[in-house]
Symmetry: C2
Subunit: 293 residues, 2 copies
Amino acid sequence: MNLDELKEKMKLTDAALESLLPPENRYPEIIYKAMRYSVFAGGKRLRPVILLSVCEMLGGDIKKALPFAAAIEMIHTYSLIHDDLPALDNDDYRRGRLTSHKMFGEDIAILTGDALLGHAFEVMSKQTAESGDINMAKAMYDIAFGCGVNGMLTGQVVDVISEGKAIDKDTLDFIHLNKTAAMIQGAFKAGAHLASADEETVEKLNKAAEKIGVAFQIQDDIMDVTSSFEEMGKPALSDEKNNKTTYVTLLGIEGSKKVVKDLSKEACDILETFGDKAEFLIELTKYLTERKK
Amino acid sequence: MNLDELKEKMKLTDAALESLLPPENRYPEIIYKAMRYSVFAGGKRLRPVILLSVCEMLGGDIKKALPFAAAIEMIHTYSLIHDDLPALDNDDYRRGRLTSHKMFGEDIAILTGDALLGHAFEVMSKQTAESGDINMAKAMYDIAFGCGVNGMLTGQVVDVISEGKAIDKDTLDFIHLNKTAAMIQGAFKAGAHLASADEETVEKLNKAAEKIGVAFQIQDDIMDVTSSFEEMGKPALSDEKNNKTTYVTLLGIEGSKKVVKDLSKEACDILETFGDKAEFLIELTKYLTERKK
């Protein structure tokens, strides 16, 4: 994995977020503090890195894509803040830090999620209106499609209504496809549109993105079981404790690993058709689907 | 007031909402049911009516503006659903019906607000990308600006952090300008941009909109006191019960009425510069700032 390139794109994303989020010393301070608290909580910037890499692979201008990279991360962060709320997953900690509602109160946490979702579209529509570049409107639609009722949002809804119930593979696939893959697809499609790609190219990348998104999520499920064994000598098994149906409970560890491997291979096969320029995205796909933590 | 014209624009808005919201029989049904439950709860469609009327006044095509009219109503509805949540205003009823969280649970209510906010931008960005009309991107930005951290959202934040405290006039003005006026301004500006108006015209209407928005909110505060007297023979005074500082507590009923009258007059003076075509918007302004309920 070319870590320098990865780190460079993460740095560019952070700089864009820094400049596009309102400063903390503006009235009413608490909302700007809360927005930045969660956005700068050590996320991997996976979706922005993908968006920027796809744009670059297709010969687009990364600088123009930065507001969209920042926006997709704001949307990802909003979804985490709302997922963690007492009425949803009720998590006190994320990445070792207090969650937004534990830090700022539930009212402000709800509004902070709302603020980040709205601000993402404010940033993107401003950029689109000022540039007059209609490809930006397409990228905005890709991201809106990925996060809304055709994507992430319904994945979250099914996750919530399935809580504590045994679910079948179709339902689990629905959750993975929507809650996780849809925003990865949004990042791929938006990156392509920002590079003025034609619709055939966009659709090809959309297919690869879906496979990467699902593989990424199954790998998460696997790690929930195996990381605990390796690191602590006994299972922590947060999914099992929560009675959560995952690929591991349905197909076992080895069966799940095979699905991840197959999906990753299929995605890389598609990416390889883009030649040498796809090298970073292929490395990233392998990195995401072979990671141990 | 030309009620036929008002009703016609409300009907057009409802038809657009009907066709742009996903059907209820789609999986997972609960989120689509919840979105429609709150959107079709008998709202006045004030913001869409304004957006359509401004667009029409400036010679724009109302048909093209309809998705934006629907989107601004989705955003207004999202804000009401989240405002009503237990962690915020904790209201069980709105317009005589159970609020979203009482009907569908708090988790689904949070996600329904999120869904409506996201869907509004999905609808608008789709329309913009498909039409290639950059004025639509400007209209989308107007609406995003109105609902986000430069508008409604911060008004809501200051409302929340001021709860139970006496606040000064500056703070109250901040709340009115942001929580209420900003989205009225968004409706005016978006309607103007959708009619390809120049920036001078947009700015003129933005000024009128601000005055109308603030007057509309103060009229609400007045009605909280006077309607109760007239209708029930005794004050219900929900603001007073909640220890809420309003224009009435700061300036008294007569003082507040004068402010509303002055603001309404100033707004109408601006609208009159648009000639006969502004008649409906002038009537609407008077209707909104003279209403008793």
